[in-house]
Amino acid sequence: MLEKALDGGRRYWLWLAALLAVVCAAAWCYALQLRVGLGVTGLTRDVTWGLYIAQFTFFVGVAASAVVVVLPYYLHDYKAFGRVTILGEFVAISAVTMCGAFIFVDMGQPARLLNIVRYAAPGSLMFWDLVALGGYLLLNVTITRVTLEAERCQTAPPQWVRRVILLSIPWAISIHTVTAFLYSGLPGRPFWLTALLAPRFLASAFAAGPALLILLCLFVRRWWDLRVADEAIRKIALIVTYALAAHLFFAAVELFTVFYGQVPDHLEPYRYLYFGLDGHAVLTPWTWASVGLAVAALGLLLTPAARARRSLLAAACVAVFVALWIEKGLGLVVAGFIPAPLGTVPDYVPTLREVTIVAGIWAVGAAMVTVFFKITAAVRTDGP
């Protein structure tokens, strides 16, 4: 089936070549990081996790969000999603791969990475996160392979795979829950120390991930016949709407407790994000941009007429994705480190090299999605 990825048009190859160029640039930067150390990034003694881990967190959400198309189709037999589930699963596979890469580039001693397996520490959430993500990858690779093969032969997928798919549903929830637990159990980091973190993660994931899926479907439709029904897109848009509303509600609930309760430890990271702290305000414009975009997107999505217009829907999805990317893929991790344990307010600004490495991993993800979608399109148009 993979051979179907090989006969694309000129634009297809140009696009892949462009992505390859980005990957090469990233590899070059990573080689430098490997030689010099993580000192080439903007990370510091006080902000020791930054863009890499934040991207990891965000894309775990994207990966988990496949469940919003898988669940209605397989549990509720919602037929319209029949043709998008596999796309959702392919996005999940790409996202999990990106997560692995983000973890890898964040390691100080990548050669020792397998110590996590060799000296497995079940008390560490990082161990469980890797188990969850590895399992999720395996599940989705199995599912996509078998279902696409069945689609190619125009037969029904074997019965056993249905069970695997059902297992993948709670598993998807678990990957993002465990990722939230990674943060929400640290006594010295009040910004993360909230039981609401896991629900918040899931809500924002179920908005950002499907928003991305809609964009991909709309975009790809211009070249390839992926036969995603309008009804399916409308339904996914509705899911994005609900998830975004839930996300904003959770955010508001958290803000209430923090700003009305006024416990300094909880207040300071939020003050840093929204207003700046002790004159340090690198993230405030980003935070407000995120809030603005999310609210605007919700406004659009809550209007049925706007949701039905393809251009407005696409705009809303872009807004959702960007807003939540800022929130989770940038602010969430950094603000957790502020103020530093000794009360100072450190600044974190990623370096160009760091950003290039991140771009390279994005490019890998984009290339994977391209190839997977191409194969799916080919299977659907060529027939057996």
Partner: protein, 246 residues
């Protein structure tokens, strides 16, 4: 091919074939009678030798701690912080004038309930039976989860190769490499041969007392019984084993 790479490949192969069932966390510490090692810092005595850095220098020399000028990449095991930051974070106004602006020592608290060891994915940091929160620099993968978990900022990550920043490396103790986390170890290498931690030995004011809290009549036990002491951020439940005698 290096052994570590071979182990890596072998492991990668095993992990690929079987969902890797890792060996249980093997982190037994030394046997013998149970001890509860702790440190008490007499803040007043320390203040008497205002501006003194004897303990910091002794520690950093003994352990090849690099002097990295870039604050962002700094590595430190024991150092001085303004009182307001270290102990009276939320209550600077209640500090007596004499303490305002003066500095106090901070180091790894060797917590009785350490969050850093809880999160370590490889058992590269763990609490020994005698209470020392130990580091295995050979096992550390540099994920910095422990740095995120430490509420005291006591852990440093090697963002760059530290060797060039160690002016006179001693061969009595290893340096570290880029990509691993390090911190104060209560001088476990000195404890092993019956010596006190380097900082305690070096203090000209006798402001630091080190010993076993479970040993009746030990100097530290007596001091803590007689004087009022505080610990950093007790509300977090980490139960630091570094006591500040006021």
């Amino acid at each position: 091919m290096s052994t570590s790479r071979r182990v890596f490949l072998r492991l990668a192969a095993t992990a690929a074939t079987a969902a890797a069932a890792g060996s249980a966390l093997g982190c037994a510490a030394s046997g013998g009678a149970r001890r509860r090692l702790a440190m008490a810092i007499d803040v007043r005595k320390c203040l008497d030798v205002h501006g003194c850095r004897a303990c910091v220098d002794a520690c950093h020399e003994a352990h090849n701690v690099p002097a990295i000028p870039d604050r962002a990449h700094e590595v430190k095991w024991v150092w001085k912080e303004p009182f307001e930051r270290a102990l009276a974070v939320r209550e600077p106004a209640t500090l007596p004038a004499a303490l305002r602006g003066s500095e106090v020592l901070v180091l790894c608290n060797h917590c009785d309930n350490p969050p850093c060891t809880r999160v370590c994915p490889t058992g590269a940091t763990w609490k020994r039976d005698d209470g020392v929160v130990a580091m295995d620099e050979h096992r550390c993968i540099g994920c910095r989860y422990c740095v995120a978990a430490c509420p005291y900022g006591s852990r440093s990550f090697n963002f760059v190769d530290p060797r060039p920043f160690v002016a006179h490396p001693t061969s009595d103790y290893p340096t570290r490499t880029k990509g691993v986390v390090e911190k104060c170890t209560f001088c476990e290498e000195r404890l092993a041969v019956g010596r006190l931690p380097a900082c305690v030995d070096a203090c000209p004011a006798g402001a630091m007392v080190f010993g076993d809290l479970d040993e009746r009549g030990s100097e530290i036990r007596k001091l803590l019984n007689e004087r009022y002491s505080v610990r950093r951020r007790p509300e977090l439940g980490t139960r630091p084993q570094v006591f500040y005698v006021i």
